[in-house]
């Protein structure tokens, strides 16, 4: 599940900054802000490229594993949030501890989901971690 805040909201803020606060002399003094805005655009591009496929896959895997009460009409984002809340509670209760049936399966789902987010938010991090 993608991290809050939504990247589109940050793009909105970036656009406001660029239109309202930047002029031709801004770059040197606002290098860091410019870098952050460029980074936000890059993340948004990656998310567009990946689409909602990874989240949908993640949701289906989690629904196969656990069965929270959820309205099937809810948006995928809300359904994912709902199933995540349920999984969090179950983890805390110890229902996915190492000696339980679904421990390994949930571990794999969470690992894949975490890796997917790194690919979207900072794939460079993976380059530095090859063979480690």
């Amino acid at each position: 599940m993608r991290i809050r805040p939504k990247i589109l909201d940050i793009l909105e803020l970036s656009k406001d900054i660029m239109f309202n606060e930047f002029d031709e002399n801004s770059f040197d003094s606002r290098k860091y802000e410019t870098f952050m805005m460029a980074n936000a655009i890059t993340i948004a591009t990656r998310q567009l490229k990946f689409g909602d496929g990874p989240e949908r896959k993640e949701l289906n895997k989690l629904l196969n594993l656990t069965n929270p009460l959820a309205s099937p009409e809810a948006s995928m984002e809300n359904r994912l949030a709902n199933v995540y809340s349920h999984v969090c509670l179950e983890i805390r209760k110890g229902n996915f501890d190492p000696d339980t049936k679904n421990h390994k399966e949930l571990r794999n789902i969470l690992n894949d989901a975490a890796l997917q987010l790194v690919k979207e938010y900072n794939p460079k991090y993976l380059e530095g971690n090859r063979n480690k």
Partner: protein, 353 residues
């Protein structure tokens, strides 16, 4: 560890409050007159705000030009962080015990002076920017000397014995430090609007793998490259005592060495500055305490969990609290790599134990 906004924050207090500040400094220093020659913001600290002050004192023990630092709350704070009153007391305790920290001079509890409580300390030379510090080319000998110094200083922090009424706020938790920290992180996750199952997973792992021996000592709890003032190859001061309190000393050792605080220099496991050996050896010699390697792994996983929670909290400053600033918003996106590390580290632990 929940973020909250400070009520009544006025971003222009430092611009408009100089006369009141000069009067405060005059009285606090026992001077005849005080004139602020220059002031500028030192850091954009997410939690606290530091200002450089060049001040001319006439009369009293500080007569002459003094380079000072004013430290006050930032507009948004983390609720488990210490107040300026408490941080000033901790700084005095450290300074009085010979730990390398900026000399604490004056505390101002009166919010009318600049709109917030603050304290004044001496400004020390050097850089605290972690990326610059870790990029300085040092010989192995220089690295080892610096890391030995850091290990010795950390041992001295862990030997601090707070006493007196002004240290009453330092309450020892009634449970093991690791459990106390797990409870704090659970509470922080509960306060976030978005569930974070990887962090839950990490905390559950932590509950099942608590370090065997935890003897609480005073810990800095944010001892890492970035909170150390370094001048060339020399440690000049240990900064930012806002999280200090009782904990397992291995938490500090691990926080310093955790991968998330190496600034990309993963082969330099001690703070991105060198190998662990010199740091560990100096720490063990000075503290007469053995490094507990299993506890270090435990606390390094906890370090990633802690930083990921803070990153997500920073994102909420934008997403929920309406703080229209890019920096906290973008900080949230560090969380994925930290959480992936939590998964990898807990898996490695399972394979090795």
């Amino acid at each position: 560890m929940v973020l909250g906004c400070l009520k009544g924050y006025n971003p222009y207090t430092m611009q408009n409050g100089n006369i009141e500040l000069e009067i405060f400094l005059t009285n606090a220093a026992g001077s005849k007159t005080v004139r602020i020659i220059d002031r500028y913001k030192l850091t954009s600290g997410a939690i606290q705000e530091n200002w450089a002050l060049d001040v001319e004192f006439s009369g009293g023990p500080l007569t002459g030009l003094q380079e000072l630092c004013l430290r006050m709350d930032a507009p948004t704070r983390i609720s488990n962080s210490r107040s300026r009153v408490e941080e000033f007391a901790l700084l005095k305790l450290a300074y009085g015990n010979g730990i390398r920290v900026p000399e604490p001079l004056f505390l101002c509890k009166d919010k009318k002076i600049i709109g917030r409580q603050f304290f004044i300390m001496r400004r020390i030379p050097g850089i605290a920017d972690a990326r610059r510090i870790t990029q300085i080319k040092r010989t192995i000998d220089q690295q080892d000397k610096l890391l030995s110094d850091l290990g010795t200083q950390l041992a001295a922090i862990h030997a601090l014995k707070p006493s007196g009424r002004e240290m009453n706020f330092l309450k020892k938790p009634s449970i093991a430090p690791a459990l106390h920290v797990i409870n704090q992180y659970h509470a922080a996750l509960d306060a976030l609007p978005q569930p974070a199952p990887v962090l839950e997973w990490g905390l559950r792992w932590a509950q099942l793998n608590l370090p065997r021996e935890q003897i609480p000592t005073i810990c800095h709890r944010d001892f890492r490259t970035g909170n150390l003032m370094i001048d060339g190859n020399k440690l000049v001061g240990i900064l930012d005592w806002e999280f200090a309190g009782w904990s397992d000393p291995m938490e500090d050792v691990a926080w310093f060495c955790a991968k998330c605080w190496r600034f990309g220099l993963n082969n330099k496991e001690a703070g991105g500055m060198g190998s662990r050996t010199a740091f560990y050896n100096a720490y063990e010699n000075a503290s007469r305490r053995k490094i507990d390697h299993k506890a270090i792994i435990f606390w390094e996983i906890m370090a990633h969990i802690r930083w990921a929670i803070i990153a997500r909290q920073q994102g909420e400053r934008f997403a929920t609290s309406g703080e229209n600033s890019l920096e906290p918003a973008m900080t949230a996106f560090i969380a994925p790599q930290l959480e992936w590390e939590v998964m990898r580290m807990t898996e490695n632990w399972a394979n090795e134990n």
